[in-house]
């Protein structure tokens, strides 16, 4: 059964100074199954972030609609947790209070808030940093906190917009393993936007490749690799085959917009 249905969702941005409107997204159809981990892979400016923002309810589609559990999405809500590329922890709140933000908004009793926060702090390996302010944390720690903050709300689907894009290569690899580990444990439905091919294959059960602007779905590749996936998987022949195929798909798109 589909958890999330994207039906004919397109997005046009109004023209600047009376110019013709820009089409960011061709009408797109996409169904996401429950417990699936889907990565959306595409070159910069292909509208993949726009699509994710529309699913989050932060942007409205020009055409079509998004259904979550059969209910149309009208605006942002706690049932769709989001992790952004930029560091969006609230700088005036400690790590622990950042993670409790959504729980407090829901009216969860404080003792329960603390319990949930503590368990997620442990899961993302931030014990000892509960009372640190975001500016005292490294980029990787900030994004771990952001993931914990989104998951603490127990959303129906987790949306991630290039969350590791600003991190160095080694940290990015560790973050991928962490997120994949969490997913292997919970099987929470995930929609993950990235322009990194390895990242897209390593975590996903399905990679959706988007074309250059205006964005549309160019390929939909099921990743048939067993779980749990250790980082050594990235050097296996199967992985390399997927990588070769997706590199070819993306390369032609990048050449188009260059």
């Amino acid at each position: 059964m589909s958890k999330l249905r994207i039906e004919g969702v397109g997005r046009d941005f109004p023209g600047v100074r009376g110019g013709a409107p820009t089409r960011a997204l061709e009408p797109i159809d996409l169904a996401v199954a429950d417990n699936d981990f889907i990565t959306i892979l595409g070159p910069s400016g292909c509208g993949k972030s726009t699509l994710l923002r529309i699913v989050a309810g932060l942007d409205a589609p020009s055409t079509g609609r998004v259904l979550l559990d059969g209910q149309p999405v009208a605006g942002p809500g706690p049932d769709r947790g989001m992790v952004f590329q930029s560091y969006t922890l609230f700088p005036w709140l400690t790590v622990e209070r950042n993670i409790r933000f959504g729980l407090r908004e829901k009216g969860v009793p404080e003792a329960r808030q603390r319990e949930i926060a503590a368990s997620f702090i442990a899961r993302v390996g931030l014990e000892g940093f509960e009372n640190h302010f975001p500016k005292m944390l490294s980029g990787g720690m900030q994004q771990r906190t952001a993931i914990a903050r989104a998951l603490a709300n127990d959303p129906k689907i987790l949306l991630l917009d290039e969350p590791f894009g600003a991190l160095d290569n080694q940290t990015r690899g560790l973050m991928q393993e962490l997120l994949l580990g969490i997913w292997e444990n919970d099987r929470k439905t995930v929609l993950f936007v990235t322009h990194d091919i390895e990242e897209a294959i390593f975590m996903a059960s399905r990679v959706v490749v988007m074309s250059a602007r205006p964005g549309r779905i160019k390929a939909d590749v099921a990743i048939d690799l067993p779980h749990p996936r250790p980082y050594t998987l990235k050097t296996s022949p199967e992985f390399s085959a997927y990588k070769a195929r997706l590199t070819e798909e993306i390369r032609s798109e990048v050449l188009k917009v260059r």
């Binding site: 989050a56 932060l58 942002p76 609230f90 933000f101």
Partner: protein, 257 residues
């Protein structure tokens, strides 16, 4: 000395003190050396002696107290009105559209030009002094707070929405805490301006306060007292600024670089 090269705290201190030493030495030489008539400018020591006499003989502490209370009173009234309006303007565009044109116009009205009118309306009592400071501060605070709140990072607001925050949550738990250090900084700045308004108000019509003392001393050609009064204003300004900064550091440790 190289561009943007940091210096040690003790060197910073010494240089800051050095300016005062140079300043007072130049003043001393200028007055003692007979380059200027004593009637028009007292020398530093006479100024200090006159200041001492003001404090012990003429109950100058009472004047200082009156002036401080007027500044704080008018300033708190203005802040109490202006901060909520500014926050609402920053948060809601229709509210901003409603107030912004008038407030932008009103903030260029010089508070001191209202003094004759305010004397007609409210006499030369405390109400008039408070109103001068109020008019001088309220529009400035409104506009600056509106800009600060309106420039809250959009991605933080969006993150809060995806965590389930409603309008009240966005204002109370994102816009306000994110703008709080900026608002405190605005209040510190405007409090400094409020000091100018109160002295002007006291110069024009008053029976107490530092400004009143300055006018009295002018009639007596006592430049020592006038200068002492001005220095006292400067010192109080410096102290209140220092206290405000210390408070901000204490309240908003997360916003420090």
């Amino acid at each position: 000395m190289r561009p943007l090269r940091e210096i040690s705290p003790s060197a910073r201190w010494a240089l800051g003190v050095a300016f005062f030493v140079v300043f007072f030495a130049a003043w001393e030489i200028y007055t003692r050396g007979g380059f200027v008539d004593r009637i028009f400018l007292a020398d530093p020591l006479t100024m200090l002696r006159e200041g001492w006499l003001l404090l012990v003989r003429h109950n100058f502490a009472y004047d200082i107290g009156m002036t401080i209370w007027r500044v704080l009173g008018g300033f708190f009234l203005a802040a109490a009105v202006a901060v909520p309006i500014g926050v609402m303007m920053g948060a809601y565009k229709p509210v901003e559209a409603f107030f912004e044109p008038f407030v932008s116009f009103a903030r260029y009205l010089p508070a001191s030009a209202f003094i004759p009118l305010l004397i007609l309306w409210a006499g030369i009592g405390e109400t008039q002094k408070l109103l001068v400071i109020f008019i001088g501060s309220v529009f400035q605070i409104i506009l600056m707070v509106a800009v600060t709140v309106g420039s809250t990072r959009r991605d933080l607001v969006e993150a809060a929405y995806t965590l389930g925050a409603g309008d009240r949550g966005i204002i109370g738990r994102v816009l306000l805490p994110s703008s709080a250090p900026g608002i405190a900084e605005i209040l510190r700045l405007v409090l400094g301006w409020a000091w100018t308004y109160v002295i002007v108000a006291e110069l024009i019509g008053s029976s107490s306060g530092i400004g009143h003392m300055i006018v009295d001393s002018q009639a007596l050609l006592n430049t020592g007292q006038i200068i002492f009064g001005i220095i006292v204003i400067g010192l109080i300004g410096l102290i209140s600024d220092f206290l405000f900064k210390a408070l901000n550091r204490r309240l908003f440790p997360w916003s420090l670089q």
